[in-house]
């Protein structure tokens, strides 16, 4: 009578797998009887209970720190606050002839520091959604704090009332978008979190020109062109140096002169060949058109 061949049932296979893993672990000399807390707060000292007697080598391996020291096994192993400042996963090992291994997480401590970005550095007045404020929330060891934290944004314009907006961080980030004000000048935006304050200053500048007008003063074969004070729609004067373009069409063809604003006004002189049409522009804004020498 023939014997039945041994069968590798799923249970049989899993027992073999377990046995192989156990043997592998034994061969590596790795056990898991080192007792660390499952979770620690950054910068929080703790101790690992004693186990046995004699001496062993203790290793602690973290994101930015590695400890190796000889320890006495009959007293608790002290893990100092400075050993666990960086958030992340840590491996603790106690090695004699074999190593006991334990892994634990260090989580960020309480929110204490801010990294704050305000963009852009210059912004035109009265522009919706033109200012972005982004704050990153860190603990005192510069670990990003993923838990929600309240961040206050205090907006202080040079002229006008102060405003405050509170946001709750998500995954360590609080951000908002806001409109620029109607008046030019510096605006201070301060992000605050507990005792931490991060101020940034943004410069609000005049927006595009509004109601751009020029007048012409003919003199012989030339004409002097002068703009009215160049302002935006909120009445803020455009800064000196802003370019105003005068374009002339006459018998000599088309020519354009770019003139910087000086003391709020753009002024230039053009020579003419017969009747001419003259137009003005500043950025994307067109001004009035003039006819010189009686022809439009």
């Amino acid at each position: 009578m023939a014997k039945a061949a041994p069968r590798f049932t799923p249970g049989f296979r899993s027992r073999w797998t377990f046995a192989v893993l156990l043997c592998s672990a034994y061969a590596l000399g790795v056990t898991n009887d080192l007792h660390t807390p499952a979770r620690v707060e950054a910068g929080e000292a703790f101790s690992i209970p004693p186990e046995g007697s004699g001496q062993a080598t203790f290793y602690l391996i973290g994101p930015d720190h590695v400890v190796k020291r000889t320890v006495e096994l009959n007293s608790p192993i002290q893990v100092h606050a400075a050993d666990v400042e960086a958030a992340g996963s840590y491996t603790a090992m106690l090695c004699r002839t074999e190593c006991s291994v334990s892994r634990f997480d260090v989580r960020a401590s309480h929110p204490a520091l801010l990294s704050f970005f305000l963009h852009p550095s210059r912004v035109p007045v009265s522009t919706p959604g033109s200012i972005d404020a982004t704050a990153f929330v860190f603990d005192r060891y510069w670990n990003l704090v993923a838990e929600p934290s309240a961040v206050d944004f205090r907006i202080t314009p040079a002229n006008g009332a102060e405003a405050t907006k509170q946001l709750v961080s998500h995954n360590g980030i609080a951000w908002m978008r806001m409109d620029s004000g109607a008046h030019e000048g510096p605006v201070r935006v301060t992000a605050t979190l507990g005792g931490a304050e991060e101020p940034r200053v943004i410069q609000q500048v005049a927006a595009e020109a509004c109601g751009l007008r020029i007048k012409a003063l003919p003199k012989g074969n030339s004409v002097t062109l002068e703009s009215d004070p160049v302002k935006d729609c909120s009445g803020n004067p455009l800064p000196d140096g802003t370019i105003v373009s005068f374009t002339k069409f006459d018998a000599g063809g088309k020519s354009t002169v770019d003139v910087p604003i000086k003391k709020g006004i753009a002024r230039t002189e053009l020579s003419l060949k017969g009747p001419a049409r003259i137009s003005v522009a500043c950025g994307v804004v067109l001004g009035n058109e003039l006819a010189v020498n009686g022809r439009l």
Binding site: I61, K68, A146, R177
Partner: protein, 175 residues
């Protein structure tokens, strides 16, 4: 019979060569990174930016793996900056002092983009990765662990690339 033996010998030698290459430097080949940027706020990601981030994040992990294995930090500046670079550099110098090194076997990253600032100066990612981490003292394996890891990542753009500015492991169950 002899030609068969020659063919067999060639196959074996090619296999040995390939396996030795894999075991030496090529094990630190570029890890796979899959980036999901659907619904990214407050700014959507441009296709080219997504490709650049994916490439440089993979390069960062390759660089970190090589640095932790060889205990050399001089190449970290290519892909890391700020706090991430400082922390890795410090760790490597302390690994040297402790006489250990760490080998990372990277099984690929599933990366979700969480935040992209409107001015394009910062992107936050969460990375779920399966890693085998071996801690060695010389040639002696002290510990090995294969498990899923979750990282919060902050990347910022430089002149020609995106740098990893912050890389923090967070418990897997909660970002």
């Amino acid at each position: 019979m002899k030609p068969m033996c020659r063919i067999l010998a060639r196959i074996v030698s090619v296999w040995l060569l390939a396996s030795s290459l894999i075991n030496s430097g090529y094990a630190q080949s570029l890890p796979q990174v899959h980036l999901d940027a659907d619904g990214l706020a407050p700014r959507p990601i441009e296709r080219l930016t997504g490709q650049t981030i994916t490439r440089h994040y993979a390069l960062a992990w390759q660089e970190m793996g090589q640095a932790l294995s060889a205990n050399l930090s001089n190449g970290l500046g290519d892909e890391f900056t700020g706090l991430a670079k400082e922390r890795l550099t410090k760790r490597i110098s302390e690994q040297v002092a402790a006489g250990i090194h760490v080998r990372i076997i990277d099984h690929g990253h599933t990366v979700k983009a969480l935040f992209y600032s409107t001015d394009g100066t910062a992107m936050q990612l969460v990375d779920l990765v399966q890693l085998e981490i071996q801690i060695l003292s010389g040639d002696q394996l002290l510990s090995t662990d294969t498990s899923a890891h979750r990282y919060m990542v902050l990347m910022t753009p430089g002149a020609d690339r995106w740098y990893v500015r912050d890389l923090e492991e967070v418990p897997a169950e909660k970002p």
